[in-house]
């Protein structure tokens, strides 16, 4: 963990270009695994942003926030209110989502960062749960409670109504200067934002500020004794991370203008933690991979039903195919949580550094013959930042 990542600018550039290319070509390669439809691709990108942001806090400073879903929800509510009050353009919605989540993160972070470790986690969890309950019942006039906040026919939409005459009586859909934010155009918008978010995270991670955050993770006390006040740094990381979550939340609202309180529930906060750990905390790519894996399970595995399974196991002899289908049935459909749990356990036990550690090990294996790389100790550090 103490090893500082030593990557050359060239390596970083290559990583960034490959990442951008992979994200933008997602509709092509994702359709091979049955995930090439806009809604899931949007989710990949959005939760990728959320996980990247979470990683800036957890991966770099080691502060485990259990309340990130609160910022996600605030981003969504702010975005939908921007649609309702001002305009159905996506940019103001994203802006307000980030601003409100950032302000909220500043307040929560200021209070929570007075404690470290488990106490910090519990504090953030408490704040998130408080926000959830507020959104769910107390603030119903603002959040519309369990039903969720949606756009209405009779919303004011001041800016839109100022410039355009309201046309027909159909509900306007969210757009970016005329490009509708549904389907593949919605995905490309999210994808471009994801690539920008990734680039910023990379720059943060490689900057002196990022180094400072890593120092907080390795030994905060020593930092304090040398005269550094670490709290402003941790607070900045917390706010940046909250802004990322707000950005993800507002994008959720942009692609589907609905904000529900369940987005702030503790299970949603837990999901982000799972994504980051599954992919590899502290790495740049890991959180995005983790987000992709979890969303893939949630959307694809949960859709397998008896009919589909029978078709898959059709090649087996009679009798065995039914048995195979019923056994497999436990792990798909409503049992997808079980499969995810198993995968998570396997990864945490055998690859504590997440999927990224798997890649690192594989690479080390194939480059063994060269003497130099075997001495770089790449297998010992689960939280390696390269790749």
């Amino acid at each position: 963990m103490a090893t500082t990542p030593q990557t050359t600018p060239n390596q970083d550039r290559l990583l960034f270009v490959l990442f951008a290319a992979a994200v933008l070509t997602a509709p092509l390669w994702a359709s091979v695994i049955g995930a090439g439809y806009p809604d899931l691709l949007q989710k990949f990108a959005i939760f990728g942003i959320l996980a990247i942001g979470f990683n800036i806090l957890f991966g770099l400073t080691g502060y485990l926030s259990f309340g990130h879903a609160a910022f996600l929800g605030i981003g969504s509510y702010a975005a939908v209110w921007s649609f309702k009050l001002f305009t159905v353009n996506a940019l103001p919605a994203v802006f307000f989502g980030m601003v409100f989540a950032g302000l909220f993160a500043l307040v929560i972070g200021y209070i929570s960062l007075r404690r470290t470790g488990i106490y910090f986690s519990i504090l953030t969890l408490a704040f998130a749960q408080m926000s959830y309950n507020l959104a769910y019942s107390v603030l119903t006039p603002i959040t519309n409670g369990e039903t969720g906040l949606t756009m209405n026919q009779d919303d004011p939409r001041f800016i839109d109504n100022l410039f355009f005459a309201p046309e027909g009586n159909a509900l306007p859909s969210t757009n970016l200067f005329g490009i509708e934010m549904t389907g593949f155009s919605g995905f490309y918008f999210c994808a471009v934002v994801l690539i920008i978010a990734f680039y910023i995270a990379m720059r943060i991670s490689r900057s002196p500020f990022g180094m400072m955050l890593r120092a907080i993770k390795s030994n905060q006390n020593r930092m304090n004794y040398t005269g550094f006040n670490t709290r402003p740094y941790a607070l900045t990381a917390f706010v940046i991370s909250g802004v990322y979550a707000g950005l993800a939340g507002s994008l959720m609202a942009v692609t589907d203008p609905l904000a529900g309180a369940e987005r702030m529930q503790w299970t949603a906060s837990g999901e982000v933690v799972l994504m980051t750990i599954l992919g590899g905390a502290g790495t740049l790519l890991g959180p995005v991979l983790g987000a992709g894996i979890i969303k893939y399970f949630e959307n694809i595995f949960s859709a397998y039903n008896a009919q589909v399974l029978e078709r898959i196991f059709d090649f087996l002899p009679d009798g065995i195919d039914h048995a195979a289908a019923s056994v497999a049935g436990l792990f798909v459909g409503e049992g997808w949580h079980l499969t995810l749990g198993l995968v998570f356990m396997l990864i945490v036990i055998f690859l504590p550094g997440g999927v990224m550690e798997g890649f690192t090990r594989l690479r080390a294996k194939f480059s063994k013959p060269t003497v130099e790389s075997s001495s770089s100790g790449s297998t010992t550090s689960p939280a390696k930042d390269s790749a």
Binding site: R13, L24, L40, S185, R206, S207, L258, N299
Partner: protein, 450 residues
């Protein structure tokens, strides 16, 4: 920090990225135009796909499981397998058990998790990936309304499953959405006379309400109809959906001076709140010189099963009950029982009927296009589906039919025989004007999605 100082410039990279994205997006737009479909997801092969979006986890999972069973049975009957069920008693004879419009019916399923977000994600998957022409299901009004507006925007038909809120066909009604199930207003209109006959006109009611769209509208409707028979509403308390423990809400009821507890809960929530109310001795208590009583406005057999002996003597209303003796109900109970070994719930009934009604409308309209198909459903009058003569009203896409007032049986003969039908309230008594204040909404234009 010295990234991008030389070599690829940042601006060049961004340009490249944008060009790449535009290039990649282009084929998608061409593909969309090339199909020249007249409506979204027009089936081209030998099958047509329906989307069954039901809660498989969460507070309404029991209902969801039963709904899925009913849908699978409906698909069998539509494809000509099994005994045909209600197709034999249905007054429209357009369907012949050979699929719909010559296409075999296939289906995909999804888990709504009783959450709007998850339900919409799952419905979007069905529309974008699996190419369904229709989404049906839902066991929560919040979810049903969210999915209904999604289907409206996307341009496919939504056939609501179990959703009892006034809003589904009230202020949130949509042109592409249809509901067979009854609603909170009808429950109130059907229950009030029975409550008056049994409990008199001088009562004080205390509401515990599930805190979402269905609970709110049911609370409003029941309060209105009980106040119309002279009852007084003492208090209305909102409880979170899926709370599990209701003791903190039930204790105050005992000292509130109320002598009727109205539980606007459903599913596991109702099982828990009713069980706890009985455990707290609510039903043995005397208030204002009268026995304290509980009313559960929306009842279901699955809930009665969960609450066991606690439901004895408690009044409520349902859309349908398996003990009905008309030919349609009998045919459905028989084929459901033969398939799964127990009688269907009202959730199963309404979902089965919705699937059949949709298929029939498609057959009569000659297309799956939502606009044309919708016209075949609007104002459609039919019978033989277990509720007597039924009208799909054109103004709000709500079905009007008999409503059952039921009571927990004192001496059940089996684990399924828990409710007895007290009264079959005729359709006229529960019919209302589509634009009364609780319901006023706009269907808006229909959307074929292409």
């Amino acid at each position: 920090m010295t990234l991008f100082k030389q070599g690829v410039s940042r601006r060049g990279l961004m340009r490249g990225g944008i060009a790449l994205s535009a290039g990649l997006a282009a084929p998608q737009f061409f593909v969309r135009g090339a199909g020249a479909a007249t409506y979204l997801n027009e089936p081209t092969g030998s099958t047509v796909t329906f989307g069954f979006n039901v809660p498989q986890t969460g507070a309404y999972a029991d209902e969801g499981a039963d709904e899925l069973r009913a849908y699978q049975l409906a698909v069998k009957h539509l494809n000509g397998e099994g005994d045909g069920g209600m197709l034999n008693t249905f007054t429209s004879k357009a369907l012949e058990g050979k699929g719909v419009l010559g296409k075999k019916v296939a289906f995909v399923t999804g888990d709504t998790q009783t959450k709007s977000d998850a339900a919409r994600a799952s419905a979007k998957r069905m529309i974008e990936k699996d190419g369904v022409v229709m989404v049906t299901g839902g066991s929560s009004s919040g979810v049903a309304i969210a999915v209904q507006s999604l289907c409206q925007e996307a341009g496919i038909t939504f056939m609501a499953g179990l959703t009892h809120s006034n809003d589904t066909t009230g202020k949130d009604r949509r042109r592409n959405g249809f509901r067979h199930f009854f609603n909170a207003y009808m429950s109130g209109a059907a229950l009030a006379p029975v409550l008056k006959a049994n409990y008199g006109t001088d009562r004080k009611a205390y509401h515990l309400t599930a805190d979402y769209t269905w609970g709110w509208t049911q609370e409003e409707s029941i309060a209105n109809s009980t106040e119309a028979i002279g009852w007084e509403t003492v208090n209305k308390v909102r409880t979170p959906l899926g709370a599990g423990d209701f003791s903190q809400y039930i204790t105050p009821v005992l000292n509130s001076g109320a002598d009727v507890l109205i539980l606007n809960h459903y599913g596991k929530d109702m099982v828990n709140s009713l069980t706890q109310a009985v455990q707290f001795g609510l039903r043995d208590k005397q208030v204002n010189g009268k026995d304290m009583v509980v009313v559960v406005p929306l009842y279901s057999r699955l809930m009665a099963q969960g609450a066991g002996a606690n439901v004895k003597g408690i009044f409520g209303s349902t859309n349908w009950h398996w003990s009905l003796t008309d030919a349609g109900s009998q045919a459905f109970v028989k084929s459901f029982g033969a398939e799964y070994g127990f009688p269907p719930s009202q959730a199963a009934h309404t979902c089965y009927v919705q699937a059949l009604l949709y298929a029939d409308a498609a057959q009569r309209a000659g297309t799956f296009a939502p606009c044309e198909l919708g016209k075949a459903l609007e104002g459609f009058e039919f019978d033989g589906m277990g509720n007597g003569p039924t009208l799909y009203r054109a103004e709000d896409h709500q079905c009007f039919k008999k409503v059952l007032v039921v009571k927990g049986k004192e001496n059940p003969s089996s684990q399924f025989d828990l409710l007895e039908v007290v009264e079959e309230v005729p359709r006229e008594q529960v019919t209302y004007d589509p634009n009364i204040p609780q319901f006023a909404g706009e269907l808006g234009p229909c959307n074929n999605g292409a």
